[in-house]
Symmetry: C2
Subunit: 453 residues, 2 copies
């Protein structure tokens, strides 16, 4: 009996039209990365579980797709573990490899493994799928693409500026209006220092983030519930109410954080980034946002996030500086900074706003109608010239009914159709039909090439 075909939930097939749209996005991102001197690398889909486990927290470990060992994998499993039906303990005995969960850990592993072959500062980009055994839902897939761009081996703020330029360049090219949110981990550390609640920084940013929705009183109420002292909450008020231009915010922060060396360092970094940006043609709005705290136990300096302005969707790009990414693999003191473009969310935004330029989804430009063997051979010869001129062209393979062939041209949105019957063959020409206007003309192949181009 025939199987009803299906794919695993949370995964997707991409049709030619979807591929054209996705390739437009990938090609745009890639060309910007290259323009800024970043070079591609690729890593295997499978990594050793020893590389992946423990890097994404306990929840992350569960979300890793694990590969069953080949052969008689049960033979080496401890009987006791099997009798108990202990899935977690059994996993470590029957699986050694997993699918990559992101591109950051494989990149760190790559840098350490190939450190002697790499020229630092190492500017790399990587565009590959990642896999997460998450519960699938709208906009969340189990296989999705990340587009990461990082520079490691340099702590210059020029890198932060460059990444913002890249964001500006990519989203201008894609025609998506965005705002860049910028924060700095050192500022958050400074805030925690001056209020004496170093371990509460996540609670604090989460509460502050709700100011617009729930108002000042309720934010303070939430901070009390998280066991912040009245004194700490008092000191936090200028931070919670922080508003105005970036310059005004920076001015306030300098006062509030006057007692924190780390905090002031963070403010100084942010100020420098804004100063550098002001001399450049970066028209995308960049906004200092202290509530930005993504990947907190990971980043050590700048924290970035990009939000689309015209679509309700989460962050479409994010990243930051990490001073010790490669430390877990034995290479200390290599500072890096990077961002990741979420290709699948960008795809959703582009689809929602229908932002694809018409020419990005062109496929075949010219179809030769098939009237039979003799005519088909004539067409094949003409096709060689057309293709040599860089035009995407094809011959309908069967001498099917005219209507069927024209229907094929329409469905594939082919712009021109060529017909070559006995008359055309004798004249050494073709009849070229413009499928948009319906106009037909008898032309040589060379003339046809000119018209199509």
């Amino acid at each position: 009996m025939a199987q009803k075909p299906a794919i695993p939930k949370g995964t997707r097939d991409f049709s030619p039209i979807e591929m054209a749209k996705r390739n437009f996005i990938f090609d745009t991102i890639k060309s910007v990365f290259l323009k800024y001197g970043y070079q591609p690398i690729e890593t295997p889909a499978m990594e050793n579980l020893s590389t992946l486990m423990g890097k994404y927290g306990e929840e992350g470990d569960k979300l890793l797709f694990k590969i069953l060992n080949s052969g008689d994998f049960l033979s080496k499993v401890n009987d006791q573990v099997l009798t108990e039906k202990n899935s977690i303990k059994t996993t470590t005995q029957i699986s050694e490899k997993g699918l990559r969960y992101d591109l950051t850990v494989p990149f760190a592993r790559f840098v350490v493994q190939h450190q002697n072959d790499i020229t630092f500062p190492f500017k790399r980009y990587q565009i590959q799928p990642v896999w997460r055994a998450d519960r699938p839902q709208k906009g969340r897939y189990r296989e999705f693409y990340q587009c990461d761009v990082d520079v490691v081996g340099s702590d210059s703020l020029m890198n932060e500026v460059e990444l913002i330029q890249i964001v500006d360049d990519v989203y201008k090219s894609l025609n998506i209006n965005v705002v860049v949110k910028l924060n700095n981990r050192k500022i958050l550390t400074g805030i925690a220092e001056i209020i004496g609640e170093a371990d509460k920084i996540v609670d604090i940013t989460v509460a502050i983030d709700k100011l617009d929705k729930i108002g000042l009183d309720k934010v303070n109420e939430e901070l009390r519930q998280k066991n912040l002292s009245e004194n700490a909450i008092e000191k936090l008020q200028p931070i919670i109410k922080l508003e105005g231009t970036n310059a005004e915010k920076i001015h306030t922060l300098k006062t509030v954080l006057a007692q924190s060396e780390t905090g002031l360092k963070g403010v100084d970094e942010v100020e420098k980034v804004f100063e550098y940006l002001s001399t450049l043609d970066v028209t995308t709005e960049v906004e200092l946002d202290l509530t930005l705290a993504r990947g907190l136990n990971y980043y050590t300096g700048a924290i970035f996030e990009v939000k689309a302005l015209d679509v309700q969707i989460g962050s479409i790009t994010g990243g930051g500086r990490y001073d010790d990414l490669t430390g877990i693999f034995g290479l200390k003191d290599v500072s890096g900074v990077g961002i990741s473009f979420g290709a699948d969310r960008i795809y959703d935004v582009m689809n929602t706003l229908d932002l694809y330029p018409k020419e990005s989804i062109v496929s075949t430009q010219l179809l030769f109608i098939n009237f039979g063997e003799k005519e088909a051979l004539y067409s094949l010869k003409s096709l060689q010239k057309v293709r040599a001129a860089g035009i995407k062209a094809e011959l309908y393979p069967d001498a099917a009914k005219m209507k069927k062939q024209m229907n094929y041209a329409n469905k594939k949105e082919i712009s021109f159709v060529a017909m070559a019957g006995e008359d055309e063959i004798n004249a050494g020409k073709i009849t070229l039909k413009n499928m948009t206007t319906g106009d037909q003309q008898l032309v040589t192949i060379e003339e046809a090439i000119e018209i199509i181009k």
Copy 2:
């Protein structure tokens, strides 16, 4: 303790230089596919095991990478099976998904699943990695790329001709000398018919293939060992000794296969393909080779294989016509024909012969030396103009020692270096150094763009 970083055996990392080379191959193949009117699709890395199992034989089932179910996967496993430590039975209870083994089965699944959205004949290409739990060895990887191009829904021989044109076009573009071997399953069936040994066709082709190495007597000896009757071996002699031009071989086959309708149909198909090709600019040698029997229980008409002439390596491209690929998924009578380019073997051939055009591995074209903050900002502004002109350019992010920066330019094989100190800034110019010749000149950014382009 830091982990020593490593990747699973049989998998590879690709460095920027390796990526540039691989992308040259992929881009070349892609551009040819597009020129012939083929469009891309992509399918998920993971397929349901019900889609994959049983499609590649018993050995193939073992070579599938299987994904462990998430969560408490042991809870549902039959106790008896666990007590027995029966790995095979356990697998079906703890794993529902596997990594794709090739692109053909996922393509068949795709065609059936999306049949109502597809315009037939469907010309698609697909370039994605596949995974096999094979024993890794030189040239054999556990993760490797296939580049498949197929047309389904047409039984015209024009498709076979087109695929040979594509082979010719791709390998001319890559500068690899190849020979195309062509066979036809119907001819093999005809041979089996006329000698009355239908089930021995694989043994026969294997034996014939050894003619050059071991000579006629030993080939006949081998056939006897395979229990072919003397009568059958007698009838096989013209086939074993078949030689000469394609036309001569076809002539002989017509006589030998005169009693087999299927056999004659195969000869006719091959003859037509040669006839069509002779009218076209296909300069790659195409040779009728009856020993070609790849994927025999799969193909129903043409069988192709491409061999590189200047490197000892197996087949680098192969394929054929299959009349019932989608039948297993419930869609009958859809004939297709396709070929698969083995990207990793092509990569090995290109590396061995060093066939990459120099411009294919260019990365950054211009590096701005970093002399400090003020100069860096001047350089950043200049960089905007350079990049807007489509030149790949970067600023060294740190004000490191000159030697270190020049060393970076050399290692990255950057062609031009720009220096902008106080004098240049005052003059609104840069000093441009050609890293090949060593020449330096003071120029405006616009002049520099002209020179670099």
